[in-house]
C-alpha cells in the first residue's frame, strides 16, 4: 500500500499521476520527448534501454519492468536478453556507442560529478554526438527522479513480469501523453 491515500488503486507512477495531475502533465511531457520523440538519433529502444538500466541500478521494480518490457518490444528480443544487458551494462546486441552511453548513464545514477571527461571522450570516439550525450545524461537523471518518486511514496507494483510484457505493445503505440490514466 502506498504511504499516502492516492484515492485510486493504479500501480506505480500511474497512481501518483492520477493523484496529482498538475505535476503529471509535465512529467509525462518530459518522458514523451525524451523517450519517444522522433527527432532523435538514439532509437526509441536505445532510450528505453537507458531508462531500464538506470531503474535497475536504482532497484525500482515497477520502472525497470515497464521500461524493460518496452525496450524488449522495440529490440524484438526476450526479457532474458534485457536482463543480461542490465547485469552487464552491455551485450552482443548493444553497439559500442550505446555501451559507452550506458556507462555514462550508470555514473549519473551514482551522482552527476561521477561523469568524467574520459568517459565522455570514449562515447565521442564511439560516435556519440553532443545531443546523444546530453539526452543520455538527462534520461538517466530523470529516471533517478521517476524511480525515487515511485518508491519514495511506497506505491505498489504487480510482481508478475508477464503483466508488463502484455502491456508493452499498447504502451509503445500510445506513448506517455495518456489522456486517460485509468486505461
Amino acid at each position: 500500500m502506498a504511504h499516502i491515500d492516492l484515492q485510486n488503486d493504479l500501480p506505480g507512477i500511474r497512481g501518483l499521476m492520477a493523484y496529482r495531475p498538475e505535476t503529471a502533465a509535465h512529467l509525462n511531457a518530459l518522458a514523451e520527448i525524451l523517450l519517444r520523440d522522433d527527432d532523435n538519433t538514439l532509437t526509441r529502444g536505445e532510450r528505453e534501454l537507458i531508462g531500464t538500466y538506470v531503474s535497475y541500478l536504482n532497484d525500482c521494480h515497477f520502472c525497470q519492468q515497464v521500461h524493460g518490457a518496452l525496450a524488449g518490444h522495440y529490440f524484438e528480443c526476450s526479457v532474458e536478453e534485457i536482463d543480461a544487458i542490465k547485469s552487464n551494462g552491455t551485450s552482443d546486441m548493444v553497439s559500442p556507442k550505446m555501451t559507452a552511453l550506458l556507462a555514462i548513464a550508470a555514473k549519473v545514477q551514482q551522482g552527476g560529478k561521477q561523469v568524467t571527461s574520459g568517459l565522455v571522450d570514449k562515447a565521442r570516439e564511439a560516435g556519440a554526438s553532443d545531443r546523444e550525450i546530453h539526452d543520455t545524461v538527462l534520461i538517466s537523471a530523470s529516471f533517478c527522479m521517476f524511480n525515487r518518486y515511485v518508491d519514495g511514496l511506497g506505491t505498489w507494483a504487480p510482481e508478475d513480469r508477464q503483466f508488463y510484457l502484455n502491456r508493452a505493445p499498447q504502451r509503445a503505440k500510445e506513448g506517455y501523453l495518456m489522456t486517460d490514466l485509468k486505461k
Binding site: H3, Y19, L30, G112, D130, I133, V137, G152, L153
Partner: protein, 184 residues
C-alpha cells in the same frame, strides 16, 4: 568546461536548456508547478527542500541558487536557511518541516529508504498527504536536476553575489525558460 557544447558563460541548468529547449521547457514547467504554484507548503518551504537536497547531492549551483531563493522568501528570517543547511536537526525550523526534510533526505539516498515510521512521524507533526507527496516529488526532482547540472559539468559561479542575484530573479519571475543570447 562543460562536457558538451553549451552557450559559453551561461551558468548551470540555464546553459543546458538553451542547448536543448525542447526538454528544457518541460523541466522549467515542472519546477514552476512544484515550487511556485498552489501547494499546502509555502514557496519558502519548497525552495528550502530543494536547497537541502541539492546540498546533500553536493550540487553547488543548485544548492546555492535555491538557498538564495529561499532566503528571499523567508524574508525576515533569512538565517533560518543557513541553519538548516548547516545542521537541519539542530536548526530552529518547525518540527513538521524537520520531519519533511528528513524524508527528503531519505529520498535523496533512494526511494526505498523512506519507511512507514518516517511517514508516521511526519503525520504526527501535522503533515498531510499532499505535503508528503510534494516533499517526495520535490526531493526526487532535485535528484534529477542536480545530476543533469553536474553530469554535464556546467559552469558553476563561485561568487556569492551571483547567487544572490539569481535568488531575487527566481522569486520575482519564477521559472521561465531562458532564451538563447543573440550571437554577435
Amino acid at each position: 568546461m562543460a562536457h558538451i557544447n553549451v552557450p559559453e558563460g551561461v551558468p548551470g541548468i540555464r546553459s543546458l536548456v538553451m542547448f536543448r529547449p525542447e526538454t528544457g521547457k518541460h523541466l522549467y514547467d515542472l519546477a514552476q508547478v512544484l515550487l511556485r504554484d498552489e501547494s499546502p507548503l509555502t514557496q519558502a518551504e519548497r525552495e528550502l527542500i530543494a536547497a537541502y537536497v541539492s546540498r546533500l547531492n553536493e550540487c553547488v549551483f543548485c544548492s546555492n541558487s535555491h538557498a538564495a531563493a529561499a532566503r528571499c522568501l523567508y524574508d525576515g528570517d533569512r538565517g533560518l536557511v543557513d541553519e538548516v543547511l548547516q545542521d537541519m536537526q539542530a536548526s530552529s525550523i518547525s518540527d513538521k518541516m524537520k520531519s519533511l526534510l528528513h524524508i527528503a533526505g531519505k529520498v535523496q539516498v533512494l526511494g526505498k529508504e523512506v519507511n512507514a515510521d518516517d511517514i508516521a512521524a511526519a503525520r504526527s507533526q501535522g503533515a498531510t498527504d499532499r505535503e508528503l507527496h510534494d516533499t517526495v516529488l520535490i526531493a526526487a526532482a532535485f535528484c534529477m536536476f542536480n545530476r543533469y547540472v553536474d553530469g554535464l559539468a556546467t559552469l558553476t559561479p563561485q561568487e556569492p553575489e551571483a547567487y544572490a542575484e539569481m535568488g531575487v530573479r527566481m522569486v520575482e519571475k519564477g521559472y521561465v525558460l531562458p532564451q538563447q543570447p543573440i550571437q554577435s
